[in-house]
Amino acid sequence: MEQVFTITFITGLLAAMMRMATPIIFGTLGEILSERAGVLNLGIEGIMLMGAMTGFLTTLTTGSLWLGVAAAALVGALLALFMAFLAVYLGLSQHVSGLGITLFSTGLAMFIYRLSVGSPVNPPTVRPFTQAAVPFLSEIPVIGPAFFTQYTLVYWAFLLIPALWVLLYRTTWGLAIRTVGENPLAADTVGINVNLVRTLCLAGGGALMGIGGAFLTLAHQNMFLIDVVGGRGWISIAMVIFGNWDPARGAAGALIFGFLDALQLRLQGLGFDIPFHLFLLIPYLMTVVALVSVSRRAAAPAGLLKPYRREEKG
């Protein structure tokens, strides 16, 4: 056992944790932005898959990784705008609209991918992102290679955590967003356009979800597989609850999930004779356990799931 838990092992484990957590951080932050404004976006799983597919195909055809990321963000925002049309403007059930968006986007992603590449024996690949070392910081032992020799998108994800926190708690926009999510009638009374704020938050959140998907096909892997998202959208939804709708705590949950995911991969790689499927289910099971543990203090925004119709008040 002593030979296993070396410095190299720990460094590799922490680096993998960061990578595994990144798409979930994007998803969790995107979902927090939407839910803080009062809209549960269950379209996340499909939006992430569309992001993964769009990012991949864009890079495959243009050769530009960043164009792929931009396209994924755009598609994510557009699908979220569709969600806004259904759940905000028409006021349809957020649960069912979101599931509809996920089913529709999942079908569309597979449809467009199949149409574009056909069904070759070997799926096409792109040359993925390479790690970019941060000057000086990357030379610190253990911490350097684990946290500061990463993909640029990983840095983005971690910079977005404080950015979203500042937006929500330290700006007037954030106050408006939280008011819309907690008490839309009060927000309307002080002249905030409730539906517009909700729409913008959904679109912004959708863009983040799209980028999270693109990370999977442009950095984490270099190809598009139909199950590439594999429930990470639902995990993100769970992390929002686990983190009590707070960006930092939600991201912490994503990191724990990333750690478990990385650990199972590493132990598998070391040839431990443990069935890998049992390892793969641990993060999902732990997420359920985590939800139970926080259930007593979970406090969702009061306006969540409720469409705001001015003519129906009072």
């Binding site: 269950l42 499909g46 259904l86 403007y89 028409l90 006021g91 349809l92 059930s93 649960h95 069912v96 609209s97 599931l99 509809g100 968006i101 996920t102 089913l103 529709f104 986007s105 999942t106 079908g107 569309l108 597979m110 449809f111 199949r114 149409l115 594999g230 429930g231 639902w234 995990i235 939804i237 769970a238 609850i241 069935p275 890998f276 499927h277 049992l278 793969l280 289910l281 999902y284 099971l285 997420t287 359920v288 939800l291 139970v292 259930s295 007593r296 119709r309 003519e311």
Partner: protein, 350 residues
């Protein structure tokens, strides 16, 4: 834009809503077909001919409709009591695993007894798996949408573990179970087809759920809990017990979908035993307006789309994933259609 409640529409309009939604969905699906460069007339004709054109194709559509009916009923029954069961996929897998296990090691009993054993095992496995999120909901108030979704992945990996481990066919490296015994297989009821016992069971399930919904105290209570849990509790209904029993029945129905796939179609347990039947169940239940008969009709319609998409794809080159796209569109269109029956939408300038 102003949205106001409208007076309740007559009953025949309520029935026409899903039909209208289906027609609109079929019209809208022209967009992806044209996008894929498919000829519209050929696409639609090959879709319906492929699903209904010959006796064999029609019976294949019935075969595909069976699991969809079961998952549709599972979701409809749960949604009616506002138990948000998005976990029919995992419950289906649980049923399939149990059916395989019993099917491989079936004791020497008469065929009828073995089949009852296989079905009971599958029903119970699916049902018990569904009571996990129901217990978490009632005991700890954990959101059922999220837990049912997450437990789908847990069950998928449990199946993966079994198929690479204890349930793997000996001397094989594929994730595949041994074949279930002949005696545990559903009999084929019509010659030169795969029309099997499971389809009859699906029809029976429709009637049973309809009976439970409209003729039993439990069905009445489940509906009361769905409409207003607080009022139901004031009325002396044990809400938690109703939710858990609803979950048991709902998961059991989804489990039966898995039983049929093992005992009548594949005879083995495979990783891709379900191409998302559990998720399709959500769309089917909504299109069927949570009514068992409507659900059965919606399941048949989706079966037409799935089976027909195969021949459409062969003839026009439109990818079979068009079926998934249509499914997603159908759910969204149906939601909007339901809104239009209850509300009036006026475009006005502020």
């Amino acid at each position: 834009m102003i949205i106001t409640k409208r007076a309740p529409l007559p009953g025949w309009v309520q029935v026409l809503v899903p039909v209208g939604a289906i027609l609109v969905t079929l019209l809208l699906s022209a967009a992806p077909i044209l996008f894929a460069g498919g000829d519209l007339w050929l696409s639609y004709t090959s879709l319906f001919k492929g699903a209904l054109g010959t006796r064999y194709n029609f019976l294949e559509t019935c075969v595909k409709a069976a699991p969809l009916t079961f998952t549709g009923l599972a979701v409809a029954f749960a949604f009616r009591a506002k138990f948000w069961n998005i976990g029919a996929e995992g419950q289906l897998l649980a049923g399939a695993i149990a059916a395989t296990w019993v099917g491989i090691s079936a004791p020497a009993l008469p065929k009828v007894a073995v089949l009852i054993l296989v079905c009971t095992a599958g029903f119970l496995a699916g049902g018990l798996w569904a009571t996990v999120p129901a217990l978490l909901k009632t005991k700890y108030r954990v959101d059922d949408v999220v837990t049912t979704l997450l437990l789908n992945y847990v069950m998928w990996h449990i199946m993966g573990y079994l198929l690479f481990g204890p349930l793997q066919m000996p001397n094989s490296s594929w994730p595949r179970s041994p074949a279930i015994l002949e005696i545990a297989r559903f009999p084929v009821l019509l010659a030169r087809s795969r029309f099997h016992l499971g389809i009859v069971l699906a029809v029976a399930a429709v009637l049973i759920v309809w009976f439970i919904n409209s003729k039993t105290v439990f069905g009445y209570r489940a509906r009361a809990v769905g409409v207003n849990p607080r009022a139901a509790a004031f009325g002396g209904i044990n809400v938690n017990s109703v939710i858990i029993r609803t979950a048991l029945l709902s998961g059991g129905l989804a489990g039966m979908a898995g039983v049929g796939e093992v005992a009548a179609i594949h005879f083995h347990l495979l990783m891709d035993i379900s191409p998302g039947f559990g998720y399709s169940g959500i769309v089917i239940a909504m299109l069927g307006r949570l009514h068992p008969l409507g659900t059965a009709l919606a399941a048949f319609f989706f079966s037409v789309i799935i089976v027909g998409a195969q021949s459409m794809s062969r003839l026009t080159g439109v990818p079979t994933y068009i079926a998934e796209v249509i499914q997603g569109m159908a759910l969204i269109v149906m939601l909007i259609a339901l809104l239009l029956t209850e509300y009036r939408i006026k475009a006005v300038k502020d």
